[in-house]
Amino acid sequence: MIGIVSYGSYIPKFRIKVEEIARVWGEDAKKIKGGLGVHEKSVPDVDEDTATIGVEAAREAVKRAGIDPEEIGAVFVGSESHPYAVKPTATIVGEALGVGNDYYAADLEFACKAGTAGMQICFSMVKAGMIKYGLAIGADTSQARPGDALEYAAAAGGAAFIIGKDPIAEIEATYSFTSDTPDFWRRDLQPYPSHGGRFTGQPAYFRHVISAARGLMERYSYKTEDFDYAVFHMPNAKFPVRAARMLGFSDEHIGQGLVVRAIGNAYSGSSLLGLAATLDVAEPDERVLLVSFGSGAGSDAFALRVTDKIKEFEREPKVWDKIERKVYVDYAIYLKHRRKIKA
């Protein structure tokens, strides 16, 4: 039985409210909150980035697993905000954890689904007997052009999953749906991404998320009723709620993982933070459907079954506890933290 042996998460403590961003741009905060379903978003500290978030999330995962870091045989970091254009984040994480030098490593990039791609690779490597444990991280400090609609939700955070045998949540099956869809992109040397506006919904998010979920269910004979929880990528709070309904899930299935309302969209960290929040409360034998989405475009779907091992597993502090520990900043401090202006 192979699956998630441990997990950890990290959310920077600073938040900015939608009202504060709307105030600066002279927009209607109520309308924006209604449209996105997001009230506030996380903001990294001046000395935080994808590498530091990845290390913090991974340290929590290693501590909870109670394993020797040298037993980790692979480190994959999925992000669209790697600190360097060329020079891996995975080696910084590996060194900070004390993994040694005996490990497979790579940075992955597939917009917001690079973290789940890392989980699939670790799962395969464990299954093939190449490694004992693999570490997959999804983390981002996502950037949006000041004044762009994306600015209201682009947030920071990450989660780390250790994949191995004797798991707290078995990966029963995984399936991906992929196509060449230019809904969102960022060219080399450009500081901010561009997107296809309304084009991002139907042909991008919904097509891939729904196709991946249905593909997984068809190929591995699951029905909606087989799942106790569902977690989808959360670019805003509207899309995952609609996707859930399209698949026949109720709000109770997705509420626990819907962290986007309170922290925004942490890109590669988004669906994985939702999964971590869900594993925080899941009971043995409950089943979780996880579907990520990455622009460009693709979705990775997973059927996860929680095992008895979760009963002895340390789940404190929970993701929602971390969400509640917050310090509000105004737009000027936010800009400084996001390094949009030079000191």
Partner: protein
């Protein structure tokens, strides 16, 4: 610049110090010679505790003020480290925990330096 910072990475990325099995003293940064036992010392590298308390501190008033604190870890070892919080938040005796943060960068096209800082325990 790169090779010198690279050699220190192991001790910066985490709080790894030395422990003398002969006299029971901890040192950070790690030593390869025990100042107490001299030739009788038996030093081993060890990972220090994650938490401690602020013994004293100073606010360095540069372009952006930052805090340097003397921290006593829960094994009794003392480390000098940057404290990542607002200058108004610091108090002698406050509990702090290690955090992996950016130290700085060698300009826009240079190396990014990472390492251990401390943050208040929430």
């Amino acid at each position: 610049m790169v090779p010198r910072s690279w050699r220190k990475i192991r001790y910066r990325y985490d709080v790894r110090g030395s422990y003398c099995e002969n006299c029971g003293n901890y040192h950070y940064p790690p030593r390869n010679f025990c100042p107490t036992c001299r030739r009788k010392g038996k030093l081993v590298e060890t990972l220090f505790p994650e938490e401690g308390r602020v013994v004293s501190y100073t606010v360095v008033r540069e372009k952006e003020p930052y805090i340097i604190a003397l921290i006593e870890l829960d094994n009794g070892a003392r480390v000098l480290s940057q404290l990542s919080c607002e200058p108004g938040e610091v108090k002698i005796g406050m509990r702090v925990k290690k955090a992996f943060r950016r130290y700085g960068e060698d300009g826009e096209d240079g190396i990014i330096h990472y390492g251990t800082k401390f943050v208040p325990v929430d």
